[in-house]
């Protein structure tokens, strides 16, 4: 796995940057909900997509972009500005870890929220 294929994303810049992608992948959508910011400091696009794919494999009921967006967006799927989304997601990831709401996906111990972000990232590549 190559580290830092991703540009470094901060919570506040994530919303306006598009994730780099490996050859063969379509460009990622810029939506904050599909960008696991902290994880992207450690893992490249391919790893994130593979993690998302593995998550979907064990959570087939979430194999749907709209459904994932609805889960990830702050208020019942209602679109919000990207900063709001980013802050909400960061808070939910912190809360997930604090509450033990984690998912071990392809070995990665992730917050459930960031595992879903990986899944959404993967689905948006298809």
């Amino acid at each position: 796995m190559q580290r830092r294929v991703f540009v470094k994303l901060s919570a506040f810049t994530a919303a306006v940057l598009t994730l780099p992608f490996v050859p063969g992948c379509k460009p990622a959508a810029p939506d904050a909900e599909s960008q696991p910011v902290f994880f992207s400091h450690l893992a490249d696009a391919k790893t994130i997509a593979e993690t998302g794919k593995a998550y979907i494999a064990t959570h087939s009921d979430e194999n749907n972009v709209d459904k994932l967006k609805k889960i990830l967006l702050p208020q019942k799927g209602i679109p919000a500005d990207q900063d709001t989304i980013s802050r909400s997601l960061a808070g939910r990831i912190a809360n997930d870890f604090n509450m033990g709401n984690t998912a071990t996906v392809n070995g990665w111990v992730l917050a459930a929220t960031e595992a879903r972000q990986c899944a959404l990232f993967y689905l948006l590549q298809l």
Binding site: F39, I93, N98, T102, N106, G107, V109, A111
Partner: protein
Amino acid sequence: MHIDARNIENHTLIEGDICIIGAGAAGISIALEWIGTPYRVILLEGGGFEYEAKMQELYRGKTTGQRYYPLESARLHYFGGTTGHWAGFCAPLDEIDFKKRDWVPYSGWPIQRSELDPFYARAQKNLDLGSYEYSFPYYHDKDKSLVPLPFDEDTVFNKMWQFSPPSRFGAKYRDTIVNASNIHLYTYANVCNIIANEHTSEIKEVTVKNFAGKEHTVRAKYFISACCAIQNARLLLASNQQAPKGLGNDNDLVGRFFMEHLEIKSAEIWFPEPDPLKLYALDFGKTKYRAELGITAKKQEEYKILNGTASFTPLEIARTQPAFIDIWTKDQKQREKNMSNYSKKENDFKSTKGFSNFQLFTRIEQAPNPNSRVTLDTENDELGMPRAMLHWELTPLEKRSIRTIYEIIGQQAGISEKGRVRLLEYLWDENDHSWPEFTGGGWHHMGTTRMGTDPKQSVVNPDCKVHGIDNLYMAGSSCYVTAGAPNPTLTLVALSLRLSDHLKKRVNG
């Protein structure tokens, strides 16, 4: 005083007050305690003062079950025993290791950690360690640059280790033992049989043999078997003249509950920025103390897992290091070469900026398991003693515990925003109870004459005396009920000192 048992008249009768069988860390530690007393101590060592392939061959034995090291290479058969090649890792068992844990079958010692503390403090000196201090704040006060990972202390704690130089008992204590007028060290005196009285209530004598074809008899008031966990069990089982199932084995427990520490790469931790992790770094031969991550007793109970620790090696180094089980060969020279290369790579852990990713390596107890056991083979060694056979068997609890430990550490890495943890692939499927090829142990043999108050569930009593035999004691890690996470040497020396004190009280009436 030193006597080479090859050079004395055949069928010599040797007599003393105390007979210690085996001159390794346990046997020598006990012998040292008796120097200058009015008692005549016979210390029997099967080998000489140097490594000899022919002596090692006596330890050869078949292994089944979980892949294991060649038995003849896992222990050293000469004066000083396996301290001749140990790495010096020392830490006491935790309080929880002595407790009965309802999620760990057959757990619970008949003594508590507090009863061993005074002996741990004494054992530190035998092993050239610092003060008996293993709390992280103590070391942090000494060196504020030892920065701990920002994890919840009620969940993950910094388990401190001290490192012996490492003390080689053979070189360190040879002159002291040989010059002691009341310690009679016999080398090339392999005990092949322990002979009890008719009712097996007392040991009368032991028979020693060597490659010179000599056979001698040793008589004493008290006998202590300090031959390591596999050989202690082998000796009791093979001493079946008066007790057909072997001495102390009325309840078929001798040799059962063989335990090892699982030592296995398990996960990776990734940080966004490099970190030297100075508190957790190891520079072999120089580091005097360091920490590994442990899971608190409260969390062990909550998750119902075994006690284990995680150590850190930079990933770029760890990925070049083969598994111990693959490089620990029968051939001594090749083995030393392989291990030397391994240590050189480990010493590269010196980046000032640090590293962004580390391999997490587990040391963990195995659950006591009666099916994991030492038995006798039908084949005899060159001195006519049945060879030991080892069946090493693990349970699903070990694997679940390792997986859980890294999920807990992964959660802490997430809470603290320090990084993310990735489990190695063999841990991904929680329904897969198999082990990968690189699974190995720490060359730590324990549990084959376990301690307890009930003869139906243990071999020795809390004083390490074999149940039902008035003057036969077991010394060393064979008496362990559970293994804890730490390497066994410090605890086995502490237990030996405790046994020695007990025996002094008894001898003095």
